[in-house]
């Protein structure tokens, strides 16, 4: 992305030419990374960007082709959440982040594939078919932002937006060998992001390296009065110089390296930590005692909120309605039975149960208490260290059809990513090596609230010393 911006200024590349070549790559791609491509709009915006660059405008995102996850609303362009129920939905408005991207001249290429309503870790629950991993077409790109991650890795865009509720930016970033950030809750407006679990959802930037991610992050963050959880705060641009790691305290919890962790992931992550030590960081052992309850709490809270958030898909006002001539109850049942896939239904049922009278105290309230304990663990840990390092996912990308009938095993893969969502803290995944089969491994860096720039800076310094992020599939 930054390379492209530099070449635009050196005039050895023009936005229309670059966007045209990216569109050609998308057309030739068999990854199924995109749900919809807006060729006309992209070429029009590229031409407009070209004239703005000629006039000397400096904005780094001018003319940069960006892919947007298909659960983020785009005015006049289908936003389906990869669900049959919304396959005909065209939003009459742009999400806040899309407005910001358009304002700084970025080119919105189209919409990327995801697990239906962002519920999943494989992009296989999409009703438009799974996305494939560019490193190995027989493997999953991860999810739910699998389309965005695959598109970045395969050069089908210069950067992308995903959304992260329990790891949906970081886990596919890890599986596809790219960099992805889940920002501090409240730094990026959720206005226009189709809600999955409102207290956990956060839009995040994805790119080929930490500097690209930082540029995209600067563009999309900021206070938005239309999202009441958006924090009123002034931000200055993130430094692209990297962070001096001398004396920086990096906490490493031993709980991140249990028996079940795959050897190849452990090897790569431990190696990355020695690189940080080599760069002057101090490695501090820390404890996060309540983290082991994270997955259990998450799979109460997220489905509970989802069951309420997805109630609006009733076939009355928008989306696909089934059975026009029967009574209201039938219409609701058929619309939702046919419109939602199995994973979405499973979570709606889990969530409705957890919220129902008599169970609320035992489940949702209990899970919320666990959440408070986990946030407390992090607060205490950040008294002793400046950031925390560990694996992003316990494994590397697995086969496309693996574990489709085993949702519980898939849920457990979120063990490292979920805590950041529960605590609202920033976390990112950077490429830190490869497994025995050549699939990428991700290192996760977690920061204290508003420590987004610190972990991005540390990732930049790490990437100045390593070249895992430069290897392309």
């Amino acid at each position: 992305m930054l390379d492209t911006a530099r070449r635009y200024r050196k005039e050895d590349l023009s936005p229309p030419a670059h966007v045209e070549s990216v569109l050609a790559r998308i057309r030739a791609s068999e990854l199924n990374a995109f749900v919809a491509v807006d060729e006309q709009g992209a070429l029009r915006d590229a031409a407009a960007a070209a004239s703005r660059i000629e006039r000397g405008q400096e904005d780094l995102l001018l003319g940069i082709p960006i892919a947007v996850k298909d659960n983020i609303c785009t005015k006049g362009l289908h936003t389906t959440c990869a669900s049959n129920l919304l396959k005909n939905f065209v939003p009459p408005y742009d999400a806040h982040v899309v407005e910001l991207l358009r304002n700084c001249g970025a080119v919105v290429l189209g919409k990327t594939n995801l697990d239906e309503f962002a519920m999943g870790s494989t992009t296989a629950t999409s009703s438009f078919g799974p996305t494939k991993n560019p490193w190995d077409m027989t493997k999953t790109p991860g999810g739910s932002s699998g389309g965005s991650a695959a598109a970045v890795a395969a050069g089908l865009c210069d950067g992308a937006l995903g959304s992260d509720t329990g790891g949906s930016v970081r886990q596919p970033a890890s599986f596809c060998g790219i960099t992805g950030l889940k920002p501090t809750y409240g730094t990026v407006s959720r206005y226009g992001l189709v809600a999955f679990a409102s207290s956990l959802d956060q839009i995040g930037p994805m790119g080929r390296n930490a500097r690209d991610v930082a540029v995209l992050f600067d563009a999309i963050r900021g206070h938005d009065p239309r999202d009441s959880t958006s924090i009123p705060r002034q931000y200055s641009p993130t430094s692209l110089d990297g962070l001096d790691l001398h004396g920086l305290r990096i906490g490493v919890p031993e709980i991140f390296f249990p028996q079940g962790l795959s050897r190849e992931v452990e090897r790569a992550v431990r190696f990355a930590i020695t690189v940080f030590a080599d760069l002057g960081a101090i490695i501090v052992p820390i404890e996060l005692p309540h983290l082991r309850y994270g997955v259990a709490a998450y799979y109460i809270i997220a489905p509970a909120e989802a069951s309420s958030n997805l109630a609006r898909y009733d076939g009355v006002r928008f989306g696909v309605r089934d059975s026009d001539e029967e009574d209201l109850f039938e219409m609701y049942c058929k619309t939702r039975s046919k419109g939602f896939g199995d994973e979405v239904k499973r979570r709606i049922m889990l969530g409705t149960y957890a919220l129902s009278a008599g169970y609320y105290e035992a489940y949702y309230r209990k899970a919320s208490q666990v959440r408070t304990l986990i946030a407390g663990d992090f607060r205490r840990a950040f008294d002793r260290c400046d950031m925390i390092a560990g694996p992003t996912v316990p494994v590397t990308a697995f086969g496309l059809g693996d574990m489709v009938d085993d949702p519980l095993s898939i849920y457990l893969l979120d063990i490292y990513t979920i805590p950041a969502n529960l605590a609202g803290i920033p976390a990112l995944s950077v490429p830190c090596g490869f497994g025995d089969n050549g699939m990428p491994v991700g290192l996760q860096l977690l920061g204290p609230p508003f420590g987004d720039e610190t972990i991005l800076g540390a990732a930049m310094t790490f990437q100045d010393r390593t070249r895992f992020h430069e290897v392309r599939p």
Partner: protein, 277 residues
């Protein structure tokens, strides 16, 4: 004097005189063409978020102070989840555990005697849309102009024992709302609606009878009629709870919103939403 007495608690929904709706910028003006006062937020389109109208909170506090309530510093909005076509999001945003105001009172005078009616709570919530049924065809239409209009729900303690007291309380409360400039109190347009919780017990007994909810009584006359009938129902009263009144349905209006399927769902065949963003 009858051996029975009624115990009545009233819930009033008062529409606030804000210029815009409670969670979006749409106008609250009444009587416009269907679905003209709508936007992605009050239509519940995917991806939108509510932003609380400051004026609605001001108005709620104003009423709370006038009724001697404690204004709660911590307010929580909750979702009341149910499916109904006039409810765009599949839930109503309302207050449950932490309402805006708690514990006030309104003094009324009935037949020269002053009586203090306790106010249990006042909370903020959003109104729903309006279903319009086509009698000639199995079709219904929805007007979302009213969806998201700010309401205050004012709940009394079960301090009211006669219909005269109920009517006097309602008239007095309506005057307070109008005097404060918080609501226009217009009953024809639905700006002032009342639900009653009525139970009947043997006079002097401490226990409560079975509670009957009477929804949407949109005139003072309705309130008068219902409350009067109750104490005269059924002669030999068993020792236990009083059974519900079979006449209840006749006195509730067809526009009441019940968060269940029956009996309305069977009437609403083949929905055709007329809403278009």
């Amino acid at each position: 004097m009858s051996v029975f007495e009624a115990v009545i608690g009233l819930e009033v929904h008062a529409q606030l005189l804000t210029v815009s709706k409670i969670f979006c910028g749409c106008s609250t003006s009444f009587g416009l063409a269907p679905n003209t006062n709508t936007c992605p937020i009050c239509l519940g389109l995917p991806g939108v978020l509510p932003v609380l109208n400051r004026k609605a909170v001001d108005f709620g506090i104003r009423l709370g102070l006038a009724l001697g309530c404690v204004i709660q510093e911590r307010n929580v909005f909750a979702r009341k989840n149910y499916f109904y076509p006039d409810l765009p999001k599949g839930y109503q945003i309302t207050q449950y555990d932490n309402p805006l105001c708690a514990g006030g009172h309104l003094d009324i005078e009935v037949k020269g005697v002053m009586k203090r009616i306790g106010i249990r709570r006042i909370h903020m919530e959003e109104d729903a849309g309006k279903n319009i049924h086509d009698d000639s065809r199995p079709r219904s239409y929805i007007d979302f102009n009213r969806a998201g209009v700010p309401l205050l729900e004012i709940v009394t303690e079960p301090d009211i024992t006669t219909s005269e007291e109920a009517v006097t309380y309602l008239k007095e409360l309506r005057l307070v709302l109008m005097y404060l400039g918080v609501s226009d109190g217009n009953m024809e347009e639905g700006s002032f609606r009342c639900d009653a919780n009525v139970s009947v017990r043997t006079r002097g007994s401490g226990s409560m009878g079975t509670r009957t909810e009477l929804k949407n009584m949109n005139s003072f006359r309705n309130v008068q009629r219902i409350s009067l009938r109750r104490p005269s129902c059924g002669t030999p009263l068993p020792a236990g709870p009083v059974p519900c009144d079979p006449r209840r349905k006749a006195t509730t209006t067809a526009t009441s919103r019940i968060p269940t399927w029956s009996p309305w769902s069977s009437m609403l065949r083949g929905w055709t939403a007329s809403a278009r963003p």
